[in-house]
Symmetry: C2
Amino acid sequence: MFIPDDVCDLVQIDLARVRALRAALTAPETVQTLADTFSVLGDPTRVRILDALSHGELCVCDLAAVLRLSQSAVSHQLRLLRGLRLVRPRRDGRVVFYSLDDQHIMAIFRQTLQHVEEDQSAKGATGARGAKGAEGRRR
Amino acid sequence: MFIPDDVCDLVQIDLARVRALRAALTAPETVQTLADTFSVLGDPTRVRILDALSHGELCVCDLAAVLRLSQSAVSHQLRLLRGLRLVRPRRDGRVVFYSLDDQHIMAIFRQTLQHVEEDQSAKGATGARGAKGAEGRRR
DNA sequence: TGAACATATGAGCAGTTGCTCATACGTTAC
DNA sequence: GTAACGTATGAGCAACTGCTCATATGTTCA
């Protein structure tokens, strides 16, 4: 679909500003990287894995036991988390222990929770159903 | 699928720890909320929208023009962002201006970029393809 | 009131995701 | 070597996502 510089013909539409803004936008690769990272964090199972690992390193099968997930499911998810260097493996014999690879993640979790909590207290719960199906996404 | 307390039968597997950890885990609703929020942030289009709005409020059609997206696409995404209170609408006649609803988001972006950058510098680029298809996801 | 316009939303489709199942890989013990 | 075991991974399927198209809603102005 073709989208011209000016989409609507209101006077208020600020064409100069539109063009200036385009130059000020974050680079596409950076945007993609941000989105990829958030995408990986945007799954309850992976959040739970990171949460569990925040208490210390765990082998795959203990992780599966803690979260009541299959070994395969955990392993698949760890692969993704490894890919973004959110977790780090350490082999000891046939057991592989995983730990958080980075302090930032927990800081990001904290900050995000702050956002959510500020929401609920400061603004009341009008239609706070979290858009994307905050409920009913588990299978 | 049934998943017992202990998945594997190695001696190293720490059953007591598994049980203790279960009690220490973050509450399911909190996990879901975190995941929902990250899920919304985990899309390039929405990241771009938030990035654009970080420079100041914009009406829907200017936003569409800046990002070269259809009005419909932008509106659908704004709906999601509104749902999680990441953006806030302000009506002025028939024009609706959107702005960031929260300072936290930009802080989260910054922190996440720090994580990514630390990756690339400190750890070299061995297999840094970001798992989930960092490239080739645009259509 | 009705035309024009900015925005919102429902339906539908192609692409993606997270799981399970089956199986391969890597290490240890015999 | 081979058996056992912890982990990793490919295929495949059901559910979900983000877009477009068509259309509804809400506001302004004549």
